[in-house]
């Protein structure tokens, strides 16, 4: 070894420990616990999860990538409604005193979405229907002043709540009828009935029933019953039948009227049929109804998960596109320039996000999915 190399080796031997010491970061300073003050910014998608043995929740995810943001805690079998601006949530649920036994207290909770903090609680009738989370069990007027909640004993009725005072203003019997389809102004609601008719109830300014009228039978409960979910299409109510027929109903007058029907699945081979719980999502800007569909129609198959999502042009009565979408039981559609479809697979436990291409016949492409046990209902604006 030359003198030069010997000096280099010696230098490394002496300096190496110093270099290691120089690269060691300073110790982590003492920390303090804190609480996130608000949800991370950006659009949200809400998933309602129910429970038959404890607390339920409203989970909040990013509508961009399904990243989890937080949740709002509820009682059993929460029924969720979101304000038009997506900034306030209203949820009804049951709180049994001893969880599995004893008297039930049912309440409405109103919460701020950005902070997930309770703004208001109101006690409602304990006969609140304990069903799996789904659309139409609670509805809130567009101005946020009035909430309606479905009851069952099993006799059916609707609790009307003034959200300004937090008081129940009325219990409206709707014998033989089910689900609340509230007009945007909160002045009347319509419900499907077991004889195929539709009951329309008008509410006064005092929140009490001011009159009601039942239509003639509009659908056949035995041969082709309607799913209870509806979508608003240009002010009308749109339902879909087990067999894949759209029923467009006007609820503007005192008595509901059938406007039109459209058997959109009839001409397509494979005995395709809708399936799930809330299986329609409407894109108002484009006039497209998305429907969760599966083949091989059978008695008892109306809750089967989807194989495809169909994009149906309501104005031209045309099925524009059929996109692969496996296992979905509830869907919701955003109202932006690029419609997003969110779906939950309640039979399997998952949340899914699809992007729709309006330039390609409204084809839907899966972009994200997460496992989410007991995901029941999905809501988006």
């Amino acid at each position: 070894m030359s003198g030069k190399w010997a000096a280099a080796v010696l230098s490394l031997a002496v300096l190496a420990p110093c270099a290691v010491r120089a690269q060691t970061p300073p110790p982590i300073p003492a920390e303090e616990i804190s609480v996130e003050k608000a949800l991370k910014p950006g659009p949200n998608v809400f998933v309602t999860t129910g429970s038959w043995g404890g607390a339920g929740a409203i989970y909040v995810f990013s509508a961009d990538d399904l990243a989890y943001k937080g949740d709002y805690s509820t009682g059993m079998q929460p029924q969720f409604a979101l304000s038009p601006g997506a900034d306030t949530g209203v949820v009804a649920s049951a709180f049994p005193k001893r969880i599995m036994y004893g008297p039930v207290e049912a309440i409405i909770q109103k919460f701020d979405v950005s902070t997930l903090k309770t703004q208001q609680e109101a006690t409602i009738l304990p006969k609140f229907a304990q069903v799996s989370p789904q659309q139409g069990q609670i509805q809130v007027s567009s101005d946020g002043s009035r909430a309606l909640v479905q009851n069952a004993t099993p006799a059916t009725s609707v609790t009307v709540v003034d959200l300004k005072s937090g008081k129940v203003t009325a219990e409206v019997p709707i014998p033989g009828c089910w689900q609340i389809n509230l007009a945007p102004d909160g002045a009347h609601f319509s419900s499907l009935c077991g004889d195929g008719s539709i009951l329309t109830v008008r509410l006064g300014a005092d929140g009490k029933a001011a009159g009601q009228a039942r239509s003639k039978p509009i659908f056949d409960v035995e041969k082709d019953p309607l799913f209870a979910q509806s979508q608003r299409v240009d002010g009308d109510l749109m339902f879909v039948s087990y067999g894949g027929v759209f029923y467009r109903i006007s609820d503007k007058g005192d008595t509901a009227q059938l406007v039109d029907t459209y058997a959109f699945a009839k001409a397509i081979p494979g005995e395709w049929t809708p399936g799930g719980y809330a299986i329609m999502g409407y894109s108002a800007p484009y006039g497209i109804m998305f429907v969760a569909m599966h083949p091989g129609a059978r008695d008892g198959g109306h809750k089967d998960g989807s194989e495809e999502i169909w994009a149906v042009d309501l104005a031209h009565k045309t099925v524009l596109y059929r996109s692969a979408a496996k296992g979905l039981t509830q869907i919701a559609v955003s109202q932006g320039k690029v419609p997003l479809i969110f779906g939950v697979a309640s039979h399997g436990g998952g949340l899914f996000r699809f992007e729709v291409d309006p330039t390609a016949k409204f084809a839907a492409k899966l972009t994200h999915q997460i496992a989410l046990r007991d995901a029941a209902a999905v809501t988006v604006r």
Binding site: M100, S132, P133, G194
Partner: protein, 178 residues
Amino acid sequence: MTNFFSRVGKQLDDILVSGARSSARRFGRRSALAKLGGFLVGGAVVATLPFDRGFAATGEKPAPIDDDKTCDYWRYCALDGNLCTTSGGSKTSCPVGAEASQVSWVGTCHNPGDKRDYLVSYYDCCGKTPYSGAQFCLHSKGERPGYSMGLHNDINWCMANANKGYHCTVAIVLGVAE
């Protein structure tokens, strides 16, 4: 499904006249969802889902005639819930300490053993925590939304009891469906 509702209605009328199972006229109940409580499994993107009780319940195996601990047992054709046969009870009895629901819903199921259709009333057993090891089943033959409450299986049929906690479900033959 031909004349299904008229058959059910007649059967129920007969039952009411005879005084048997008078609560069957008020039928109904809950969904496939979340009976055992909900929680987030994870935030990560996954290729497959962790479990699929609903689809497992509607599997493609041939229906066994006698095994009342499986979802394919013939009486369960419109049952949505936990089997009491796997919760400490039987197909006609609630487990110890539970109470029978005061109201129930109905289905019409075909018994391959004698090739007859039977009217079956599904009662929930109430007031106790669901057993996590119970067999969950989802069948919805002839099921309807809540506007036909007596055929509805998405609701908690302990609703008329003082103790409303859902535990499990039994399937009781009411008679031959004519």
